[in-house]
Every structure is written in C-alpha cells, then in structure tokens.
C-alpha cells in the first residue's frame, strides 16, 4: 500500500518536471537555452514517471520491460538533443547574448 503511494508521488513529481520542460521550451529566448531546458528536465521527468510506474507494477515481467524503457530513454534523449545542438552549431546558428537582444533571434 505504501509502495503504491510512493509510486504515485514519483509519477506526480515526474509530471511536474515534464511541465517545467514544456514551459521552458516556450519561454526561453533562443535555441540553445531551449535545448538545455528540454534535454535535462524532460529526461528527469520521464525517468521519475517510469520509476513510479515500476513501483506501482511490482516485481513482474512488465516491470523489467519498464526498466529497459528507462535505460533506453536515459541513453537516447540527451543524445538526440546533443546531436541537434551540434548540427545547429555546424550550420552557424549564433547563441543569444544580452547586447544584441533587440536585433532578432
């Protein structure tokens, strides 16, 4: 019973981190800071949600599959955002500074 409550708490905390990542994706000024927002907080939020679902599910085969999903997401989500940032730097996208704040994005 208390494991269920722990799992629900982890799932709600993960949903909070997913919402923080979405708000950062909307409100931050340029591509690299948005990349920073969604690359870290989305990964943490999704890992928390899947860990909570593992706690709710118990010790079964589905829990092992959820553990595989967690490891896969932990490896691939930062890799995807890093590859996108690398491609943006290679094309020549300039990072945002405060002194040219009014000259467009």
């Amino acid at each position: 019973m208390i494991v269920n409550f722990l799992g629900m708490a982890a799932a709600i905390g993960g949903a909070f981190f997913l919402m923080v990542g979405s708000v950062g994706l909307i409100r931050l000024p340029d591509f690299f800071s948005r990349n920073h927002a969604t690359g870290k907080s989305d990964t943490l939020g999704m890992m928390l949600v899947i860990f909570g679902m593992m706690l709710i599910e118990g010790f079964t085969l589905n829990s092992a599959k959820l553990c595989f999903v967690l490891i896969f997401v932990f490896l691939t989500n930062p890799t995807g955002t890093h590859v996108l940032a690398n491609a943006a730097l290679r094309i020549g996208l300039k990072p945002w500074f405060r002194k040219n704040a009014g000259k467009g994005e």
């Binding site: 949903a15 990542g21 909307i26 999704m46 709710i56 589905n62 959820l66 896969f72 590859v83 094309i91």
Partner: protein, 89 residues
C-alpha cells in the same frame, strides 16, 4: 488505480499541447525539431499511462518502446541531414 490514472492522463494531454506552440512558430528548423522530440517523449509517457488505465500494460509497454526507438531514429536522421547541409536556413 483508475481514480489516479484518469486525471493523470488528462493532465499529460494538456502538457503535450504546450510544445506544439514551438513546433508551429519556431524561428528556425531546429526549434521545430526540438518541439517534435519533446512531444514524442511526452507521448511515450502518455502511452504507458493509457496502458495502466486499460489494465493491459503488457501490450502498451511494447508500443511505448517502439515509439521511443522511432523518435530517436527520426531525430538522429534529421540532425545528420541538417548538419551536413551548407545552406543558410
């Protein structure tokens, strides 16, 4: 468990609609790709929550894993295509 996962699914659906703003009007193509990736990862969590809601997690966890693989391959392919291109966006 339905009394927890039904409002949770609704809240996740509301959260998914936030990065669509960045997909529709991002200044560059990378912002659109980033928003699409964020929508894909949140959709993975939504699929898992729907599996708990229908009590058929053994089916939905496989769908979620396949969705994660497709999302990752799509992001890597688009980034490789855009990174080797010389034209200014």
């Amino acid at each position: 468990m339905d009394t927890f996962f039904l409002p949770y699914t609704i809240v996740l659906t509301v959260i998914i609609f936030l990065p669509l703003y960045r997909v529709v009007r991002g200044p560059t193509i990378f912002d659109r790709m980033l928003g699409a990736g964020a929508v894909g990862t949140k959709t993975m969590v939504l699929i898992l929550a729907i599996g708990f809601l229908f009590d058929r997690l053994d089916m939905f966890v496989d769908i979620s894993l396949a969705y994660a693989v497709l999302n990752f391959i799509g992001t890597i392919a688009i980034a490789k295509f855009l990174g080797t291109e010389k034209a200014e966006e």
